[in-house]
């Protein structure tokens, strides 16, 4: 379905439909409640909504899943952000003595935004993305996912498409949620290799010894570099990038006249670098630095640092594109296509499709099984399953199932402790 079918002007009409029949509230609550291991975890969580006409409201909080549903269906937010778990219910923060209302915990989050790569992608700029530069997100996810799991020991990572030009990562481990500001900033710095603004030409500087983390990251980058940088971005073919970033000597420029194929040009460049390295210590890691400057993930440390930072919620709608912020299944990362992510108009339309014969039969069966349940309730549960949203909710479910095992363990432990005097 072409994205041009979506028009932001239709949001006021279809948002109510989305929140009434499609938003996966029970999974959402299951996530944010974290198994009920900690008291008032859900109740003390801050949400913020952007409503029609850019009205922004903070410090929203809810006591139950039901209340969350009702409120969202009433307000029909254009955007939903998730904030921290506070010491008191956020919607009562004005009644709390000043200084005592504090953000206590939150998932560790990362925000990778395509605009941060504008100086190294030639195909698009600003809010645009295309399949050629999307590879940058794939690389970012692979590098960071590996590092967060192998180096930091985190296990419950939720990667989400932001809806337009980037991806978010929610690290949901208990240890991650309890990290201090200093710890979050340290993790983000550990993961940062590309430094400097517009005024800095050489954004990656490596020195001996090469840390194991950098080595592992290079392994990932090297896999994608030939196709992404040499071919798709054509960094050795386009004069601007050759001049700007590659400090290519005259000799090499001449050689480039005779050699047009990017892979061969890259080999020439590597050879030149090797020769230079033999004589002087400078330029030791020239090719590595180039690969990293073009491909290595660029994250905004400020997003990850703050415990109280608000970040777009999964399953929120992106008002400009209409796309739903869906979880990304890492098992299918190579084939993930941001342009195939369902838009709100698409899935609402799918709802109105007449049911097929198979669907009718299936729903007959399940209605018989669920006789006690409210018919409307059960129909709602199955609604999203009829749309393209289904597979993303399934992915979310799988993520939650894995996490739930750890909650079970926690609850058992706690009840054991209580029994012991």
């Amino acid at each position: 379905m072409p994205a041009s079918d979506y028009d932001s002007a239709c949001l006021p009409d279809i948002l109510p439909l989305y929140y009434r029949r499609l938003f996966p509230f029970s999974q959402y609550y299951r996530w944010l409640n974290y198994g009920g291991v900690q008291k008032n975890y859900f109740q003390n969580r801050e949400f913020s909504f952007t409503l029609k006409d850019d009205i922004y409201v903070r410090y929203q909080s809810f006591t139950t899943q039901n209340e969350l549903e009702k409120e969202m269906q009433k307000m029909n937010p254009y955007k939903i952000d998730i904030g921290a778990i506070y010491s008191h219910r956020p919607n009562q923060h004005n009644t709390v003595k000043s200084g005592t209302f504090q953000a206590l915990e939150k998932e560790l989050v990362f925000d990778i935004d395509m605009t941060d790569y504008d100086d190294v992608r030639s195909c698009c700029s600003a809010a645009e993305i295309c399949p050629k530069c999307w590879t940058l997100m794939t690389i970012a996810i692979r590098v960071l996912d590996r590092a967060l799991r192998d180096d930091f020991g985190f296990q419950h990572l939720l990667w989400v498409y932001s809806g337009r030009r980037g991806v978010h990562c929610w690290v949901c481990d208990e240890a991650a949620r309890k990290l201090s500001v200093a710890a979050r900033s340290a993790v983000a710095e550990y993961l940062s290799l590309v430094k400097g603004g517009d005024e800095t030409m050489k954004k990656v500087v490596l020195s001996d010894p090469i840390h194991p983390f950098i080595r592992e990251s290079l392994v990932v980058v090297e896999r994608y570099f030939p196709l992404y940088a040499l071919q798709d971005q054509d960094i050795l073919g386009r004069k601007e990038s050759v001049d700007k970033h590659l400090h290519v000597r005259k000799q090499l420029q001449q050689d480039f006249q005779n050699e047009k194929k990017p892979e061969n040009r890259w080999n020439l460049l590597k050879d030149q670098a090797k020769r230079k390295q033999a004589t002087s210590k400078k330029g030791q890691h020239f090719e590595k630095e180039i690969m990293l400057q073009y491909c290595y993930p660029r994250l905004d440390v400020n997003v990850s640092k703050g415990v109280n930072h608000l970040l777009k919620s999964p399953f929120s709608v992106h008002p400009k594109t209409g796309r739903i912020s869906v979880p990304i299944d890492l098992k299918e990362l190579e084939t993930f296509d941001p342009f195939a992510v369902p838009t709100i108009s698409m899935i609402c339309e799918e709802l109105d499709r007449p049911r097929t014969v198979e669907e009718e039969d299936k729903s007959e069966e399940t209605i018989d099984k669920e006789n006690e349940k409210d018919a409307a309730e059960s129909r709602k549960i199955r609604d999203y399953k009829r749309t393209s949203l289904a597979k993303y909710v399934k992915c979310f479910d799988q993520f939650l199932d894995v996490m739930a095992r750890s909650w079970k363990g926690e609850l058992l432990r706690k009840s054991d402790l209580q029994k012991d005097f």
Binding site: D151, F152, G153, A182, A183, A186, E189, Y190, D198, H211
Partner: protein, 511 residues
Amino acid sequence: MQFSSRTKKFTTNSQTELYSHPLLFYVQPPLENISLVEFETFAVERLKLLKTIENLGVSYVKLSDQYIKKLEAESKALNFLYRPEADDRKPLSGPTEQEKRRKDHISHFILRLAYCQTEDLRRWFIQQEVDLFRYRFNDLYPKQKLEFLHRNNLQYDTISVEEKKALQDKLVSSSYAFSGITVEDQDFYKVPFQDALDLVRLRKVYLKAGYVYIPHQEIVTIVLNDFRTRLSKALALTARSLPAVHSDERLQPLLNHLSHAYVGQDYSNQKNVGKISLEQIDSLSGKSFPLCMRQIHQSLRENHHLRHGGRMQYGLFLKGIGLSLEQALQFWRSEFIKGKVDADKFDKAYAYSIRHMFGKEGKRTDYTPYSCMKVILSNAPSQGDYHGCPFRHSDPELLKQKLQVYKVSPSGIIQILELIKGMHYQLACQKYFELTHNVEEASFSLNHPNQYFIESQKVLAGGRDIKRETDAPQKPQENSTKAPSAAPEAAANTQDVAEMTEELDSFFQDA
């Protein structure tokens, strides 16, 4: 801590035990009586030491040779520890080692009282105390380091020889400090990464499954973290018992003055509001803005937009030079409208944050313009940003070109680049000031962009004004009016305090 009049008492046994190690974690507060004179002297001298540490920390790499030499000299001059003796029973000329340690102990706790009250004060105090501790721990003999660890219950597990062998390559390549021999010789500890953030942040250590692998020799960073956390918690506790301390009339004026002394001029005064008109800003940016603000202004004019970091740094600076809220709103609005932002969007999205800067929104804090230290050390610019300190954050080549465009002489540029190589960013900016204002030597020591502006305006207004404009910290005048009604002893004390506060003032003006 109990304070009575001028008697000194010594509980020798517990003291010798407490001061038998040169370094303290400052866990137990002093439990003796001291005189007011000692109270004052100790506090002031430690504050001078911490101030020195702050200044050295900006100009030199911490623990570099120069840093250590200068800090040693200052510690010696102030009679604090400077060389931990393995055997401290030898009498030295001047105060004994024992006495120096006692002074260290007591002065630390006094300053806690003065610096626990606000977030800013606490942050400053903790930063300097951590740096001081780092310097001292670094100076200990290995045996003393071990002893310190054991005394303070820092038990981390070592890894087995087999595991060490398996990880050998990774360990060696995770830090330039490790060779194959180092790895074989030393014990490696497995520490949760949350306890070793400094090492993680700089990637100076091998990290696997949430644990860092640290050789014994690197354990200092862990210790520092521990020190910082303990001190932070202790300060929070101290703040709660402050009202009791403040009710003591002898202490309140001194403590107030101590805590004001470090801040100095913060350029948030409202005296000069409205003296600048928007039309002047373009020309002022070329003449009187420091390079960082000139750069930000230029990019704002060119792109009709600025990201958050730039808006904060520049917006607060403009507030400091005298822009009113209305002027600021007009300024930003007119510029952003020329770009991709329409008037409505500006009012909705950006106007709020400008009002926030002026303390009209949210928790209504009136934010102060960033000092050089803050600009240099926090929130480095990334792709698409124009804020920060150009002497710190720009590529030297690009900076050189920019200075050429701004007509700085070639020899001047070389001097500036030299200073940058030595990491003297504020001195480089000062040199830039001197060159662009045709002044031999700046009559001030640059530490704030708004200070640059004020000094520049002074020079341009004609005549180098020697008298410096400083907001003197509040003198405890209210308290001296109480003096007549108090006992003669109390009056004499207030006199002492007033004298000493004058001395403090002049010290900090020279700094």
